[in-house]
Structure formats: structure tokens, C-alpha cells
Symmetry: C2
Subunit: 98 residues, 2 copies
């Protein structure tokens, strides 16, 4: 499995709109096992996304999906930046295949 | 929902043992929606744990469960420290209730 944990910043006042885009666009992504979108309670513009994929290629391929490309285009103007980005090697746990 | 994203360090040489303890002890935790255990590929002693709970109280209560108490006792000697800890407010996504 391949994992990503990242924090992005919305343009001030745009966090809820950005969350909506992230929530609408994460269905039907082949190889996506887990994709958790969360507010950062310590940062009014912060959003955490935690992802688990079957493999790194699935994640890469997802970026080319039409709904993801459309979401990226909508989201880009209201993303202020990416402030944390960690790759992980998921082992398992609750909500994942054993 | 209530979320936690954290990174801990195993005592050198003990990461696989610590991963096993984390994997064995995460079943049957009421209110736990997601609990992903992962290696940090950039740090041979690093382990990421990403958690989603129905609420903060469920997480707190889990720490008193017998299997969790037993796991903490076994894990403590081989944990070198906690280097990242972020609370989150999960909104939803793949692998979570809508």
C-alpha cells in the first residue's frame, strides 16, 4: 500500500468551499482504499488529507481522472499552499484490507 | 468526528515489533472508524498512525480498554518518542460514513 498525509491551506474564507470540492471529487478512484478529508482545528484555513492507495501508481493515475482533473481546476484558485506532505507505507488497521 | 494524525519513533531495531503491537491491539475499539498504521519510508524508526473516531470521548475511552492498556504496557519500552501530533476534525471521505 502507498499512503500520503498532507496539509493544505485554503485562501482565507474559502476553506468550506475547498472542503466541498475535495469531498465531491474523491469517489470512483480505482485503487483508493482510504481518503479522509479533515479540518485543522488549530488553523482556520488548514485542511488535512490522509490517503491510502493500493500502490503508488494508482495514486498517480488518479490525478488523470476526469473528475479529479476538474476538481483540481476548481480548487487551484482557492488553495493558498501545501504546508506538510508525508509519504507513508501503510501496514493495515481499521478500515483497511488485512 | 474526531481525528488524530501522529508520528512516533521506535527504539532503533524495534519498529517491526512496535508495528505488530499496534496492529494486534486496534480491533474492537468502540467508536473507532479508521485506524491506519504505516511505516515512515523516510525514517527507519518512524511510524505514522492516522485515526478517526466518532468523537473525542470515544478515543479517550479506548485508552482504558483492557487490550489497549495491555498494548501500551508492551509498547512503552520500545517507543523512543512522539514527534508529531495533530488533532483533526474529519469531514468524510472514502472509508468513512457519509
Amino acid at each position: 500500500m502507498y499512503g500520503l498525509i498532507g496539509k493544505m491551506l485554503a485562501v482565507p474564507g474559502k476553506r468550506e468551499e475547498l472542503l466541498s470540492i475535495l469531498m465531491e471529487s474523491n469517489g470512483d478512484m480505482p485503487g483508493c482504499l482510504n481518503y479522509v478529508v479533515a479540518r485543522d482545528p488549530a488553523d482556520e484555513n488548514g485542511i488535512w488529507v490522509s490517503e491510502v492507495w493500493t500502490d503508488k501508481d494508482s495514486h498517480g493515475a488518479s490525478l488523470q481522472l476526469p473528475q479529479v482533473q476538474a476538481a483540481i481546476a476548481r480548487a487551484r484558485p482557492i488553495i493558498a499552499g501545501f504546508v506538510e506532505q508525508f509519504e507513508t507505507e501503510p501496514v493495515g488497521g481499521v478500515g483497511l484490507p488485512t
